[in-house]
């Protein structure tokens, strides 16, 4: 449904994109079904863990601690990975990371790569850069394959094709794999992917991956997956290139005992996902002969500099907040205009854009707190959302432009009204008169306003406002006191 890569610099604002998504009944059905299933599975396997809250607290503290000493742990990772035969590269931004990967693929002598699902490579639109350099990337995760063959975009960080149902997937596979007789049972579709990709696994000499965790203490990398496509890409090629955000590091091997409990249960509702791979540099007669890690900043160090929102970096990309979010569950992921959708996307995307784009995303939330409750590392997403809203307002009202900002003027007027009882009463009287032509009655006879004129219209776009009561509490209190006297 989406056209072109999800790019926060060009995407429409959330309210406009969300309106379009809300009109797609099939999409909403698919998203509702998938998020319901994952939430139920997650709840079951989280409830059987009596120490879940202690694990969450440990997870939060480990991540906080890591960020506090990020420079030390990155240098340790680099030293240990290098000692084990890996080559570590550093990239300031998306363009630099893409250029490093393209050069490495060319050096490996291959014009095609097999890829493990990686949101980091989605973030930097690596496939575009590879294709522009004449290198063909094959996505090997089933969902990413569906996305790639369907010329679509990911809508969830764990289950990127959750917005597609089996009939839609069959149609894509029939068309692109030339399998007119393909059935629509999930097993048929998975079998088709197995056959389609096996030949690529056995042939392609260069693999590209992301990383779930980098281990500073050992220089090792950990990748968590389900299908085995990850293991194929990590072990069969001659060259492996791993792209990881600088936030992915963990201090020690032991810290995995927390993350490997929190992540699978939160992400897919499994006690453990089918495969976790751990490797350290290059191993004789086991896996690739050349191993590269690209450590990418891409605005993460800017996020780190903001004391109030740096907790965003603690994210381990489980997607639980997306499944729990009442907004995401209605709109799906594409409306967020970024590969990071849902609550985590609403705080991560604008910050990755250094608040220059995606400014509508911090408002794409009802602040209900469901995301915070399920977050395995206790990121207080509502708190960060409010902080970012404040940033957006400060940006828009800074300098001369702020003098002409209508919203800021309205807020100032509101403040003046709330400061004085006389003005407050006058405003209530005025409001009751002014709202009269806008009020519509529902079946119970209650008055509602669902359209406001002019700039106020933005507010009523997504909200119905109840008619002001004929008698306010203050009126009632005054009358009551008069009777008593």
């Amino acid at each position: 449904m989406s056209e072109g890569p999800l790019d926060p610099t060009t995407a429409p604002t959330f309210p406009i994109a969300a309106r379009a998504a809300m009109g797609d009944a099939q999409l909403r059905n698919n998203v509702r079904h998938a998020t319901n299933v994952i939430q139920a599975k997650r709840a079951r396997v989280v409830d059987e863990m009596p120490d879940w809250q202690a694990l969450r607290e440990a997870g939060k503290q480990i991540r906080q601690h890591t960020m506090r000493h990020l420079d030390i742990y990155l240098e340790q990772f680099e030293a240990n990975c290098t000692r084990a035969g890996g080559v570590v590269h550093w990239a300031r931004n998306a363009a630099e990371a893409s250029r490093i990967v393209v050069d490495l693929v060319k050096q490996s002598g291959s014009d095609e790569v097999i890829k493990i699902k990686s949101m980091t490579t989605e973030e930097i639109q690596l496939n575009h850069a590879l294709e522009a350099a004449g290198i063909h990337p094959y996505e090997t995760d089933l969902a990413e394959l569906i996305i790639q063959l369907g010329n679509d975009q990911p809508s969830h960080i764990v289950v990127p094709a959750l917005h597609k149902n089996r009939q839609q997937i069959r149609e894509i596979f029939q068309r692109t794999m030339h399998l007119p007789q393909l059935g629509d049972q999930p097993q048929d579709l998975a079998d088709a992917a197995r056959i389609f990709l096996r030949e690529k696994f056995l042939r392609v000499k260069t693999g590209v991956s992301g990383a779930n965790f980098l281990i500073a203490e050992t220089g090792g990398v950990c990748i968590v997956e389900s299908e085995g496509n990850g293991r194929m890409c990590l072990t069969l090629p001659e060259t492996l290139i791993t792209v990881a955000g600088i936030d992915k590091v963990l201090p020690r091997f032991q810290d995995l005992e927390v993350m490997l409990q929190l992540l699978p249960r939160s992400a897919t509702g499994e006690r453990m996902n089918p495969y976790n791979s751990l490797w350290t540099g290059v191993h004789a007669n086991d896996g690739p002969r050349a191993f590269h890690v690209v450590l990418m900043d891409n605005a993460r160090s800017e996020i780190l500099a903001d004391e109030e929102s740096r907790q965003t970096l603690n994210c381990i990309r489980c997607g639980a907040c997306q499944n729990a979010c009442p907004v995401y569950r209605q709109t799906g992921g594409h409306a967020y205009g970024s590969v990071y959708a849902g609550p985590i996307g609403a705080i991560l995307t604008p910050q990755l854009q250094q608040m220059q784009h995606a400014q509508s995303l911090p408002y794409a939330s009802s602040l209900c707190g469901a995301c915070y409750e399920v977050c395995p590392v206790k990121i207080n997403i509502p708190e960060v959302l409010i902080h970012l809203r404040n940033q957006v307002v400060l940006q828009n009202t800074a300098g001369i432009a702020g003098l002409f900002d209508v919203e800021a003027a309205a807020m100032k007027a509101m403040a003046a009204i709330f400061r004085s009882e006389r003005r407050f009463k006058a405003a209530q009287r005025l409001g009751r008169i002014a709202e009269t032509p806008l009020v519509r009655r529902d079946q119970q006879g209650l008055g509602w306003i669902s359209w406001l004129p002019g700039i106020l219209g933005g507010w009523s776009q997504a909200r119905d406002l109840q008619q002001m009561p004929q008698q306010t509490f203050r009126d009632w209190w005054e009358k009551r006191s008069n009777h008593d006297n």
Partner: protein, 219 residues
């Protein structure tokens, strides 16, 4: 920056992190802060060992793996039974697997640097394991004698994994503590056969890794 030579990406990123954190790197402080991190979750076994073995079997069943308990002396017979039930004839075996465990009547090919295409042509693979985690139904393989390189337990469609009962722990933290001394070996956690839930969140067995996993618990 006003320096004449531009900073490398590495130097620039590390410098930005140091400015953001507003402190100079201090390994000793980081080390002691790490040691003080709260770890109030369960880190030791709460069940008797027999119950741990039962739990492992139960969790593996949940993943549709077959589990059989066998005395060491009966191992060849039980391996034969498992393979016959799955109609598996030709298997690859890693170096270091005790030859006396292998039953007659099957073709066991030693892994002598077989190509991926050759691995793709055998029916299955038989390996030992480093340990197993009961609570999560996980077997852990490492590149050591008897388990071999990672591709062995990946490319063939069937994996029969042998687990010594002394190597079964209840919790993930116990497993990580045992793995710590060999943390840099290539290590694979296997929890059931390859699977996906990418299509309508329906769990489908067997996408790219082995579609069938069986476990024999040596008691």
């Amino acid at each position: 920056m006003t320096t004449s030579s531009p900073l490398s990406a590495r130097a620039e990123i590390l410098q930005k992190i140091r400015i953001a954190n507003a402190h100079a790197p201090d390994t000793a402080i980081a080390q002691s802060a790490w040691s003080d991190l709260p770890r109030d979750y369960k880190r030791t076994s709460t069940l008797a060992h027999n119950a741990v073995l039962d739990l492992l079997a139960d969790r593996l069943h949940d993943y549709d793996a077959q589990v059989l308990r066998s005395a060491l002396a009966d191992l060849p017979r039980n391996i034969a039974a498992m393979l016959s039930a799955r109609s598996i004839q030709r298997l690859v075996v890693p170096a270091g697997l005790p030859p006396e465990w292998l039953p007659p009547g099957f073709i066991f090919t030693p892994d002598d640097s077989l190509s991926s295409a050759e691995l793709d042509r055998v029916d299955g693979v038989l390996t030992a394991s480093t340990l197993a985690i009961a609570e999560t139904g996980t077997v852990v393989l490492q590149n050591v004698p008897g388990q071999g390189r990672r591709a062995l337990s990946l490319v063939p469609d069937y994996h029969l994994c042998l687990v010594q009962s002394a190597d079964v722990v209840q919790t993930v933290p116990e497993a990580m503590a045992r793995l710590q001394p060999t943390a840099t070996l290539p290590t694979t956690f296997v929890s059931g056969p390859s699977a996906t839930a990418d299509i309508e969140m329906t769990r489908i067995k067997g996408v790219h890794g082995p579609r069938f996993l069986d476990v024999i618990l040596i008691v």
